[in-house]
């Protein structure tokens, strides 16, 4: 059985490696799922298990719920979905720690520490993920909630958690009350940690919580001395952390800034240094059609607004029409366009856009000056030239897609409002920029209709 566990761990490793490359990713996911199946089967054969009723029932119930939401969820709701699943996993780790403690309260100090960590991290992950889910699905306001002395309160609670941990670990058998308090505390901590973070920063938070849920699983592994839990948990813990880092880097912000700054709250919005001004030239979709009709090379730059407007299908239609009209069409994807890394890729893939047409930022930028038209569809921060030009801008230094270097830029959005980062966008005032106001889906549909005649 030990060997099955080892095999399962190897499958996780291989699967995770394969997830890292587009060509092998799907197979990698399958391999990792097989590893999970093996681990479950191996556990079923465990001699310690004397009753299968509850296990079977739990597997069945959980499996059905999991399958239903997996098939029901819309592709645009992926971030929320991952948040929910993540919370599930964290809660499970909490419950495992609790269950083990409830059944075997007399344990050596190492095990007690592991139990405490599994519960603490699991609890934080649970409520943190739930709150992130709420903010992302806009069931709760996405605005960061900041109150006076927030940092101090949080700091005190963390100290308390540490204290409880020490007391509990020293004498786990006589501290059930402390344990329950710690459970509650962990749940409160999860809420407080995510409260001050803006809705749009949730992907980073989710990735971090993903890392936590891995660590909680690893802690549970220490509780029951099971190395497949330890390995799988720490793999996820490490990979979540690295992903978080990569995302922060792509936004040119530090993790601390994401977690504690209340970025995106009303106070910081609009603090874009010198205000961009100038004449704004707007266009109707019908006028835009004449330009597009003549264009030989078009680059489409989607952003969060495309997700909001659910415009991916009609965008793909426009792309196809442009191609049939003889233009070379590319989709330029910024690493943090949308609200989730790879958000745009998922949407465009859903709309059946050819994978080969998607170009990463670094590959498209050198080609930009040779592009006839750049169509910015609901993107804002990721095409903001201030990040390149204006040292005073909060996003200065963040790499962006240089649409302003294309011959003509169409910007499809509903208003002159700023994007997630709350920074004004001088792009709108550039000589070669044309705003096409309105909901992205409607605007693109109008263009498509023009093409179709």
């Amino acid at each position: 059985m030990q060997w099955i566990y080892i095999l399962a761990a190897c499958l996780f490793i291989v699967g995770l490696k394969m997830l890292g490359s587009a060509a092998t990713a799907r197979k990698g996911n399958l391999i990792s799922a097989i590893g999970m199946l093996l681990a479950i089967v191996a556990t079923l054969l465990d001699r310690e298990i004397i009753s299968y009723t509850w296990i079977g029932g739990g597997l069945l119930l959980g499996g059905v719920i999991g399958a239903v939401i997996a098939y029901r969820v819309k592709m645009t709701a992926m971030p929320e979905m991952v948040a929910l699943l993540n919370g599930s996993g964290g809660l499970a780790s909490l419950l495992v720690g609790w269950g083990e403690y409830h059944m075997h309260p007399v344990v050596p100090v190492f095990t007690a520490v592991a139990i405490y960590l599994a519960v603490l991290i699991g609890g934080i992950t649970t409520t943190g993920s739930l709150l992130a889910y709420g903010k992302l699905s806009e069931k709760i306001s996405g605005k960061p909630t900041v109150f006076a002395n927030q940092q101090i309160v949080n700091g005190l609670l963390v100290v308390l958690a540490l204290l409880f941990g020490i007391i509990f670990s020293a004498h786990p058998e006589s501290n059930y009350i402390i344990f329950i308090l710690a459970v509650v505390l962990s749940l409160v901590l999860g809420l407080l940690a995510v409260l001050p973070i803006g809705g749009a920063d949730m992907p980073v938070v989710i990735s971090l919580l993903n890392s936590y849920s891995g660590l909680a699983a690893a802690a549970a592994g220490f509780v029951i001395s099971n190395n497949v839990l330890i390995v799988a948990g720490s793999l996820v813990g490490a990979s979540g952390l690295i992903l978080t880092q990569i995302m922060c880097k792509a936004m040119n912000r530090s993790l601390t800034n994401v977690l504690f700054s209340g970025f995106g709250s009303a106070t910081t919005a609009g603090s874009g240094g010198e205000s961009a001004t100038g004449e704004v030239k707007s266009l109707t979709p019908e006028d835009a059609y004449f330009v597009l009709e003549a264009a030989r090379s078009v680059v489409i730059v989607p952003g969060y607004g495309m997700a909001v407007a659910q415009a991916q299908h009609v965008v793909k239609e426009l792309g196809t029409l442009l191609e049939e009209n003889g233009a070379d069409v590319k989709y330029a994807i910024h690493p943090v366009a949308g609200r989730m890394p790879g958000h745009m890729n998922v949407l465009l893939a859903e709309a059946d856009v050819d994978y080969d047409q998607l170009v990463e930022m670094d590959s498209i930028n050198p080609l930009m000056p040779s592009m006839d038209v750049a169509i910015v569809i609901g993107a804002n921060d990721v095409v903001n030239p201030a990040a390149r030009e204006n040292e005073g801008s909060p996003s200065y230094g963040m790499p962006v897609i240089n649409v302003d270097q294309a011959r003509t830029v169409f910007i499809l959005k509903r208003s002159m409002a700023s994007g997630f980062a709350g920074i004004e966008n001088p792009l709108f005032f550039k000589e070669n920029s044309r705003m096409i106001f309105g909901d992205a889906k409607k605007t693109v549909q109008a263009m498509v209709n023009e093409f179709k005649g």
Binding site: I13, L16, K17, L19, A22, A25, N29, L30, M36, A39, T43, D46, E48, W54, I55, G58, L59, G62, I65, G66, A67, A70, M75, L85, S88, L91, A92, L95, G99, H102, N210, S213, G214, A216, A217, G221, I224, S225, N226, I230, A232, G233, S234, L235, G237, S239, G240, I242, L243, I246, P335, V336, P341, G342, N345, V346, Y355, D356, L358, E360
Partner: protein, 114 residues
């Protein structure tokens, strides 16, 4: 021959029962550390377009805690312990099944058209 071999490898830990347990723990922590290093290496070169499925795929792996949940649910201890275990199995399974399926769905869309 029993686990004294393990102790031979960690000769300073034979004094008390706790420190014997500590030697096992050291091995487990070692495994933990190795896996962390490995995780970092595996992920650090993934292109950004794969980040969302990577997140949900690795999230599914963290559902491995289902193994611990099953042991707790099946240990046949008192009612409360079993209930905790049962709930743990349910939530962990949601994480596992939901995570893998949704990741697969995403990759299904990524597939290159022929």
């Amino acid at each position: 021959m029993n686990f004294s071999a393990l102790l031979a490898a960690v000769p300073d830990s034979a004094e008390t029962a706790t420190s014997e347990h500590g030697a096992l723990f050291a091995l487990l922590i070692f495994i933990f550390v190795l896996a962390v290093f490995l995780g970092v290496e595996l992920i650090s070169k993934v292109p950004s377009q794969l980040h969302t499925p990577l997140m949900s795929g690795s999230n599914a792996i963290s559902g491995i805690t289902v193994v611990g949940a099953m042991i707790a649910a099946g240990a046949g201890s008192n009612l409360f312990g079993t209930a905790l275990g049962f709930l743990a199995v349910v939530f962990a399974t949601i994480n596992v099944v939901g995570g893998y399926l949704v990741t697969d769905r995403m990759f299904g869309m990524f597939k290159k058209k022929d």
